[in-house]
């Protein structure tokens, strides 16, 4: 006998006395209402930022990379920092949908939809940076390996930068498919409730003719499992390959074998911080406190303290090896360029340490994990810290390399370099506002799936099961 039961010690995932219909009402209603003033204000700001970014990129494309403050020594600066930062953020969504699905973490249902959307937007933002870093962006198609008339000019398969092209485009495609296939039943729900012809038509097209028949669900379930299986290695591979961009080199501070897993942990860390920032706002604005509960927030904070500590372990490992190796160059990079607070970029290293390793440790305490203000503050801090991590890795390794004659002066970005970064925030939030208005921000169908096991009112009905002795229980319910 299949039994809907979970321990009373676990917090409900859905609060209140909900029925299936109530769930639909709660989540879909904001889509059917007119946008609020707040939404217009936010959307306008996002678009304005995006426009500023477009202008910055326009200058860069028209006048060349000289619009940025890169120099011969620091050939990668803000641009690649931002790229790695956004790609990292784009890890949480697929981790939640794929890996937490495999680990059967019920709480993922409350946050997976928005996290996956965020993933897709973040990867879109990330992609802009290497593309425009090419300078002659109209040549971007050169990265695609195909038989061409350019003679021996062929992509370099030995280059991790090319592996990036494959890894990120694959990741983007699979994430998009995963996200979209999850949306199908929810689009159909909106279609069926639609009061205007236009809405019925548009959501009808988006729902791919979903009827909710058993056959549809069966196909949907197997598709989800296949996509989860495909996504799991992809979550690891993308940031692994991003780390190869650095680690395959012989630059001190870049060439270190721990980079792949440590980059992945850092990516998950920053991704969860971003999910946390967005979720705290969403649940407030849409009044979703019954679905995105303190339990959800606490669970994500646990992931943050775990991944933050893994990253911390890796930082200390590197620092230790900088000394232990007795390699002068490694030692110089780690102990002078980075860990020495009074070296030119020492502040960025300690900023990174404070944000990524030291401050998240407060999440060892349950009170802190469940405090909304602390959580929001920390989520922003972590994202700042993770930006610094990439900045530290890129700039402090580059600005003083093996040859002192090419040591660089202090690097600071131009307004257009910063403008490009701000512009990607514009792109990200423009997409996110549109998503929040027109898409169900919580997976309606998946919430219904856990409702009878983990919904508050349903859990109350399990008291009599809880009373039973284990042997009696096993006798009645085990299969």
């Amino acid at each position: 006998m299949h039994l809907k039961y979970e321990s009373q010690l676990r917090e409900p995932l859905v609060y209140g006395d909900k029925t299936y219909h109530q769930v639909t009402e709660d989540i879909v209603r904001p889509i059917e209402a007119k946008p609020t003033k707040l939404w217009y204000v936010g959307f306008f700001i996002a678009v304005a930022l995006l426009m500023f970014g477009v202008y910055s990129v326009y200058r860069e494309v028209t006048y060349g990379i000289g619009q940025w403050n890169l120099n011969k020594t620091i050939g990668w600066g803000w641009d690649i920092t931002n790229f790695v930062w956004w790609v990292g953020i784009g890890h949480a969504g697929t981790l939640i949908s794929a890996i937490l699905l495999l680990f059967r973490q019920g709480w993922r249902t409350g946050v997976n939809r928005a996290a996956e959307a965020m993933t897709i937007f973040a990867v879109m933002c990330a992609g802009q940076f290497p593309i425009f870093h090419m300078g002659r962006v109209w040549m971007a198609f050169f990265v695609l390996p195909y038989p061409n008339t350019r003679g021996p000019l062929w992509t370099n398969f030995n280059s991790p930068l090319l592996w990036d092209v494959f890894a990120i485009s694959t990741y983007f495609t699979v994430s998009l498919l995963f996200w979209y296939s999850g949306l199908l039943p929810d689009f159909a729900t909106i279609r069926d409730r639609a009061k205007t012809k236009l809405r019925k038509y548009l959501y009808g097209v988006a729902a791919f003719g979903w009827t909710g028949s058993t056959k549809h669900w069966q196909r949907h379930e197997s598709l989800s499992l296949v996509l989860a299986g495909l996504s799991t290695p992809l979550v690891l591979s993308v940031h692994t390959i991003v780390s190869f961009d650095f680690a395959t080199s012989v630059i001190p501070g870049w060439h270190t074998t721990i980079f792949p897993p440590y980059f992945v942990a850092g990516a998950v860390f920053s991704g969860f911080a971003m999910v946390q920032s967005l979720m705290l706002i969403l649940r407030k604005v849409f009044g979703m406190e019954d679905y995105i509960t303190l339990g959800h927030i606490e669970a994500m904070n646990k992931v943050i303290v775990l991944t933050g500590s893994i990253v911390g372990c890796a930082y200390l490992t590197e620092l230790f090896m900088g000394w232990y190796s007795q390699n002068k160059y490694e030692g110089y990079t780690f102990w002078y360029s980075r860990a020495n607070l009074f070296s030119p970029y020492g502040w960025s290293y300690w900023g990174m340490m404070a944000c990524n390793v030291i401050s998240p440790q407060i999440f060892w305490f349950r009170k802190m994990r469940r405090n909304l203000f602390v959580t929001f503050f920390m989520s922003v801090i972590v994202n700042i810290g993770m930006w610094f991590e990439r900045f530290v890795i890129i700039v402090t390794s580059l600005y003083r390399d093996y040859l002192p004659s090419s040591w660089s002066v202090y690097y600071s970005p131009t307004p257009w370099e910063m403008g490009f970064y701000l512009g990607t925030f514009g792109l990200f939030f423009t997409c996110f506002f549109l998503f929040a208005k027109y898409f169900p921000v919580i997976a309606v169908a998946e919430i219904k799936y856990v409702l009878k096991t983990s919904g508050e009112s349903f859990k109350d009905g399990m008291d009599n099961i809880e009373e039973k002795g284990s042997e009696e229980f096993a006798h009645e319910y085990a299969h």
């Binding site: 299949h2 039994l3 039961y5 979970e6 321990s7 009373q8 010690l9 676990r10 495999l102 680990f103 290695p233 690891l236 692994t240 190869f244 680690a247 395959t248 080199s249 012989v250 060439h255 270190t256 074998t257 721990i258 980079f259 792949p260 897993p261 646990k302 500590s309 372990c313 890796a314 200390l316 490992t317 590197e318 230790f320 090896m321 000394w323 232990y324 190796s325 007795q326 390699n327 060892w364 099961i465 809880e466 039973k468 002795g469 284990s470 042997e471 009696e472 229980f473 096993a474 006798h475 319910y477 085990a478 299969h479």
Partner: protein, 403 residues
């Protein structure tokens, strides 16, 4: 309503096997003492004692990780990893004695080059002596093994409360979970500071005293954890075959199988990351570690390692039916434990004896000793208390667990 068989009784056959293996091990030890070259003799005992200790300690890591993750599925067979983790109380002191013998009695600077007088002159090694010195070695080894044993014992003691009906109800349950969480977090933090970082550097990586790789410790962790999961699988299957563990079924085995599969791939991922990055950069200081392993006498072992620990798991454990098949999981568990034993062999012996890879009767004999010890003492630990924590708050979730 039939009641379950809670109490494990050690079958005579199990004892016979255990004593047989231990006897064979002791015999190999005595023969080896007279016939084997000194460093081969010590090295073999060293890698065996480290490997078997770490894979037993991996059981406690599994318990603590699932506790922190609020896992419910593993409760039905949780007493099995608990019993295995008790081996740290025996293997810990053995490994400690072996290491201390090498450093303090034998002053074996063939194994630990940093013990030699030359090291004080060597421009690289003299800089490392702040970490690689006998005093720190002793202190850290005592702390590492001591705290694993202590915190592990605390977890097991807490678990005993789940045999008592007083644990029923919401409040006692909550407090129980809370106290488990606290001890488990302490263990995990200490585990990260030892197995996840310092201990593999100190005990193993320092054999190649000049060489370094930041990945080394995580790699060692992955190697020992996947073998630890396989060891758990073997005992679960053994008990099932003997008619115990009624609440554990294919569903649980399937999930153990997933761990074996996933962490085999994870190990490969770390293996590849470390190897590829060193190969790609091609810096002599780093490639020196792999040179004789890939091209010299360890070539066969090197590829065997990859075949057993990557190719076999990915091909055989991929399907759902394989992970639910008792015979296949038994076969794969033995294979994985053997494979990572080989991995430890090449990690340690590959550095002690660079120009000769002779996996011989002596290696298998010493391994037999440790296996016999695991069978005997894990059996005793299993028999010492009920096999199912009857009043564990998550037991019912584990009973109806399905994948």
């Amino acid at each position: 309503m039939a009641s379950i068989r809670e109490q494990f009784e050690i079958p005579a056959k199990m004892k016979t096997w255990a004593y047989g293996l231990i006897g064979a091990g002791v015999l190999a030890f005595i023969l080896g003492l007279f016939t084997k070259e000194h460093n081969e003799f010590i090295g073999t005992i060293m890698y065996n004692s480290l490997y078997w200790m770490l894979i037993c300690n991996a059981s406690m890591f599994f318990i603590c990780a699932t506790t922190l993750a609020m896992g419910g599925w593993q409760v039905a067979f949780r007493r099995v990893p608990e019993a295995i983790s008790k081996m740290v109380l025996i293997f810990g002191p053995i490994a400690f004695l072996v290491l201390i013998y090498i450093v303090f009695v034998d002053h074996n600077h063939h194994i630990y080059h940093w013990l030699s007088d030359e090291a004080k002159e060597d421009p690289i090694l003299k800089g490392k002596l702040g970490f690689l010195n006998p005093v720190f070695f002793l202190v850290w080894t005592v702390l590492a093994i001591g705290l694993w044993a202590l915190l592990g014992a605390r977890m097991r003691k807490l678990s005993a409360e789940a045999d008592d009906a007083a644990l029923r109800g919401e409040e006692p349950g909550k407090s129980f979970i809370w106290r488990n969480t606290v001890t488990a977090s302490l263990f995990i933090v200490w585990f990260a500071l030892t197995v996840g970082s310092t201990v593999p550097w100190l005990w193993m990586m320092s054999i190649d005293a000049h060489w370094y790789s930041t990945m080394y410790s995580w790699y060692t962790f992955a190697s020992s954890f996947v073998s630890g999961m396989s060891l758990i699988a073997l005992f679960v299957i053994y008990l099932k075959n003997k008619g115990y563990l009624e609440y554990t079924n294919q569903e649980h085995l399937h999930d153990i199988g997933k761990f074996m599969f996933a962490f085999s791939i994870f190990w490969t991922y770390l293996w590849f990351s470390q190897y590829m990055l060193i190969w790609y950069a091609n810096i002599p200081e780093e490639t020196v570690y792999f040179k004789h392993r890939v091209q010299g006498p360890y070539k066969g072992i090197f590829f065997l390692n990859l075949i057993i620990n990557f190719v076999c798991p990915i091909l055989i454990l991929m399907t759902r039916s394989a992970k639910r098949n008792y015979t296949l999981i038994t076969f794969m568990a033995v294979m994985i434990i053997f494979g990572h034993w080989i991995d430890f062999y090449q990690m340690i012996m590959g550095s002690i004896r660079k120009d000769d890879a002779a996996l011989s009767w002596f290696d298998f004999g010493i391994a037999a000793f440790f296996i016999g010890m695991i069978i005997l003492f894990t059996g005793k630990a299993l028999a010492s208390r009920p096999l199912v924590p009857k009043y564990h708050p998550f037991l019912k979730e584990s009973i109806i667990h399905h994948t």
